[in-house]
């Protein structure tokens, strides 16, 4: 869990990948931890009444899963100094005992040796579709 050396990174290099199971329990946990208790994240009938296909994960939960992968790779959660995403599609979460899979992969973007930072570009997909676009973190390693 030590920090990768900035000098060892090359743009385009694959850095990490992980898959996270997202089930209804995780949605409830995230609702409690974040304070976002919108019923579209636990009540299928409500979600359908506002035009959704069913219960969906919080966009911010999906974004958070990406951040966790970057933080672990970086060796220090405090090293992630900038992180932004665009939400493209929601992650649909089936009833218990089912779950959705969120796949996260990180690739090195440009390395800024003077600033001691690297941009990490994330690919985040579920059920074969991209759920976060322009998902990019800046990590300080210098």
């Amino acid at each position: 869990m030590s920090a990768p050396a900035l000098s060892s990174l090359e743009t385009g290099q694959e850095l990490f990948s992980r898959t996270v199971e997202v089930d209804r329990e995780r949605l409830v946990r995230y609702a409690g931890a974040s304070g976002d208790r919108n019923p579209i994240h636990y009540d299928a009938a409500f979600a359908e009444s506002v035009g959704l296909p069913g219960v969906i994960a919080h966009g911010m939960l999906t974004m958070g899963l990406g951040a966790s992968a970057v933080a672990e790779w970086a060796g220090d959660p405090g090293a992630v100094i900038d992180y932004g995403v665009r939400f493209t599609r929601p992650v649909q979460v089936p009833p218990t005992p089912g779950s959705a899979e969120v796949q996260i992969a990180g690739t090195a973007g440009p390395v800024d040796s003077a600033a001691g930072t690297v941009r990490v570009d994330l690919t985040v997909t579920s059920a074969g579709v991209t759920v976060l676009a322009k998902a990019r973190a800046t990590v300080r390693l210098g």
Binding site: R29, G32, L65, P77, F87
Partner: protein, 159 residues
């Protein structure tokens, strides 16, 4: 509600440039950080183990990178949920989110958040509302959270 029929939603564009002052100080606790880390599958020990956090140079356990959303969304609500905003929250979806950390958030921080309404743009039947939450510890800036909400207009229901 009286509304110009040529506009897609009732979002009030004259509020761009407005600032919403903090309503309360938020105290970051180790328990809150641990809960947020568990919910977001954040397994780095610095979230929960004081010794691991100190070994990295932090004064206490470190919050996950998106923890600041907890403060930002709470503060944004002062604007978003206000009658003057004209935002119908049942028609809102999250479009974009951006965190810039001026320093890591750690347990024991007492934080205040000021929200600025930066941009309101109409894109067909959608109105994009961009807010910027400036989080500080009273003396110094801690994090900047820029959030864009997409507000759907009524004609979207025809689809």
């Amino acid at each position: 509600m009286s509304q110009d029929s040529t506009r897609p939603t009732s979002v009030d564009q004259t509020l761009v440039g407005r600032t919403y002052l903090p309503t309360e100080t938020y105290e970051v606790t180790r328990e809150r950080i641990a809960e947020f880390a568990a919910a977001t599958a954040a397994t780095h020990p610095a979230h929960t183990d004081l010794a691991a956090a100190r070994a990295l140079g932090h004064t206490d356990v470190v919050a996950p990178p998106t923890f600041a959303v907890l403060l930002a969304q709470r503060a944004e609500q002062v604007y978003v949920a206000s009658p003057e905003s004209g935002i119908d929250f049942s028609r809102v979806v999250h479009a974009e989110e951006q965190f810039t950390h001026h320093r890591p958030i750690v347990a024991g921080d007492r934080l205040r958040t000021v929200v600025h309404v930066d941009k309101i743009l109409e894109r067909g039947p959608i109105t994009l509302v961009t807010t910027r939450a400036e989080i500080s510890d009273g003396a110094d800036p801690v994090a900047t959270v820029v959030s864009t909400l997409a507000v759907r207009g009524p004609e979207e229901d025809a689809a």
